[in-house]
Subunit: 434 residues, 2 copies
């Protein structure tokens, strides 16, 4: 299962053309290198280094699981507001690896900070010492296996050799490929926006998903911008925008051991200082960040393991947001709804059942349901005009299935993103380690 | 997909021998008849009538879903402490069928009570008029399709013709077959016990399962006894024993639209009057009832759609029962754990992940995990003595996979029952209506 840029160009690329990806190019102050630490015992790139030569402000949100991976413990321990590098490895989640796993990261961070300090001395006019507590880690893969500290440590020289101070589309794709586990496509997104009159870039990569069920995936998302924002503002922006994006996909993984979404700002763009999140000048950045996060989150959902359909669950006119979210996820997480979709069966009875089990007070006499443009239930009544074969045709022909549930009880909405449940899912997960 | 006694004897019977079933025989005061109302458009029995010639005390527990089927609304409406008949149909859940579905039941109840009154006049020395509000209904099948009132009404004469006042093993199997939907085997269980010096029978049938995921199945369970117990005591006994039996299987369906477990007592056994649930004389009955319910619940779990393995999740030494239950269900409901089991992969990392997402405070340093007899993790440490291939052999050779999770934090236990997740599950549920 070698995944590297050339394999990708040769095989998967046939499915997703180069033009499917936006043109991520250069963000000042950031360098990307990818390498193989041979974690998969083949030549695929499995370690990715983001090196920030002048440091970055950053913010992260992490899994809500009671058992977190060692790298998340490491990250939470960092007291620095500025960091110098993000190192991501696949294949091994470094979860339930105990003290050894944590010490492995320490060893790697020490080696990496040493080699990066040497790199600074070579490349910079005013070199700075890089400390081990300025390294952030992302890990994803199997839980409970010994962390391959040595292999990763041995890949550092290679990663550092590959550091270049300008980036292009290919290196972004390589980075997105390098963090994949069972994903089928790399996930990239970008937006351009303005803070005041200054042009700002927001780039991001993500890996899914894997698991199409809630709270189970290792989702990693990394956003990079040249804006000059404080860690505090980055934190607020990230928290605000994560709810309707990465936390709105049913593989949101908000309780896996390893989930992590981070934003890094290199501060290379020169714009007016932003002192608080309500600053008018931040509006465009805010909505562009939302777009990048949503774009990535949808790609994660659409690439859920074994998925044949991308599904949006649009719950409308709920009394409050929480109820809308509960109903949306109850449907999005229902294996019966998801298997019906994979079977191209407009089995709206299962949607009703999923609404029923959401533990939300609803008024059946107000409930309306549409699959795509096809009205099925209106104000609690199955429409006599409903022709099942219409819905079947819609489900067969569309790659993206939209479910609309109107509760007609208020004005709050929530949209959840998910995919269907197929035999392929079982295949992938029954054989994950073999 | 014709399922009737002869098909069963000819085909499925090869898998499950007659001797697999306990010898349910006669319970005084009860008659069973089964028929085909042609709900499946083939000859399989799809309606089952339990007729209680002298009435019975009874108690039921129902689904917790916010959307309940019309038959459950009907049942909850009955003000009678004594009922005269239980009529069960498959193929159509009578859920989301609105007023029409409810009125259908009313029509059927009226016809059935008329015909049963006529039967009383023919058979009884002191015939009693049977009223429509003395009929209890069980429904299971597809949600949202019009309820086949006429077809079921037309089957009543046939059901009444078939009434016999003695029962044997075959008629019990026919009844258990007659209430099946996607189940592969009929589910029957029995215990003999004593109240005082009097022999008492407790018989039961159930249908699953279907869906192996929580809160999604239509589970029906019906328990019959010749004990003489009030509705009030039956209610308390049922509530007390349901938690660790039908509510301990991950297809417990406690929020599907149709779930229902009932107990009926014909009061034909002559024993000392029982006035309250703490009466010493009730102990044997209580534990026997638990055995019957657990036996049926396990059969429901083991026959989950597409299941190849029956799985018990034994959580030990939790601080409190609720935590133990949360951890047990988090594992039992994890598609990743369940697919690993179907792939014969002792992926204990996924068990750790499922424990982590249970939202229970645990001390990792105290956690121990065994798969079957094989110790894997002890007090938070992966054992160096653990040999993965041992666990693989165990998983391959056993039909029943036991997972043991010791939290070592208290003395409360909970066991959940479930099955693995296979491609067959997807197949069944993607094609359910076709």
């Amino acid at each position: 299962m070698a995944i590297n840029i050339s394999n990708f160009l040769n095989s998967q690329f046939r499915k997703s053309k180069m033009s499917d990806f936006q043109d991520l190019e250069h963000i000042d102050g950031l360098s990307i290198s990818t390498a193989s630490a041979n974690l998969y015992n083949n030549s695929r790139d499995d370690v990715v280094l983001f090196y920030f030569r002048d440091g970055v402000n950053y913010a992260s949100v992490y899994t809500q699981s009671k058992i977190v991976s060692e790298n998340i413990k490491w990250n939470l321990n960092l007291k620095n507001k500025k960091i110098r590098a993000l190192l991501i490895n696949t294949r091994n989640a470094n979860a339930f690896t105990g003290k050894k796993g944590f010490l492995g990261l320490k060893e790697i961070a020490e080696e990496l900070s040493l080699e990066l300090t040497a790199k600074q001395k070579k490349d910079e006019q005013k070199p700075e010492k890089i400390k081990s507590n300025q390294i952030l880690f992302g890990c994803t893969g199997t839980i409970g296996e010994p962390y391959p500290t040595e292999k990763i440590k041995n890949s550092i020289s290679n990663l550092i050799e590959k550091i270049r101070y300008t980036q292009n589309k290919y290196i972004w794709i390589k980075a997105a490929l390098g963090i994949m586990t069972t994903d089928l496509s790399p996930k990239l997104a970008m937006e351009e926006c303005k803070i005041g009159n200054t042009n700002i870039n927001i780039y991001g990569i993500a890996k899914g998903s894997g698991m199409i069920f809630p709270n189970m995936a290792t989702t990693l998302g990394y956003i990079f911008t040249d804006a000059d924002l404080s860690s505090n503002i980055l934190k607020k922006l990230l928290k605000k925008n994560i709810e309707t994006t990465f936390n709105a996909i049913s593989c949101d993984g908000d309780t896996s051991t390893n989930d992590m979404v981070s934003i890094f700002s290199t501060a290379k763009a020169k714009h007016n200082k932003i002192n608080n999140i309500n600053d008018e000048k931040l509006k465009d950045f805010d909505s562009s960040l939302h777009k990048v996060l949503l774009n990535l989150a949808k790609r994660v959902a659409a690439d859920g393991e074994g998925a044949s359909k991308f599904v949006t669950v649009n719950v409308r006119n709920s009394k409050n947001q929480l109820d809308a979210k509960k109903v949306a996820f109850s449907i999005a997480n229902s294996p019966l709804v998801k298997t019906a979709i994979s079977g191209l069966d407009p089995n709206w009875g299962r949607i009703v059942m999923a609404i029923g089990k959401a533990n939300v007070n609803i008024n059946l006499n107000k409930l309306s349901i549409k699959i795509g443009h096809i009205k099925i239930v209106e104000k609690g009544q199955l429409l006599s005009s409903y022709i099942e074969s219409d819905a079947q045709v819609y489900m067969k022909e569309e790659k993206k299935i939209d479910l609309f549930i109107d509760l007609n009880m208020g004005n709050k909405n929530f949209t959840a993103y998910t995919m269907d449940l197929t035999k392929k899912y079982i295949e992938i997960n029954a054989d994950y380690r073999t």
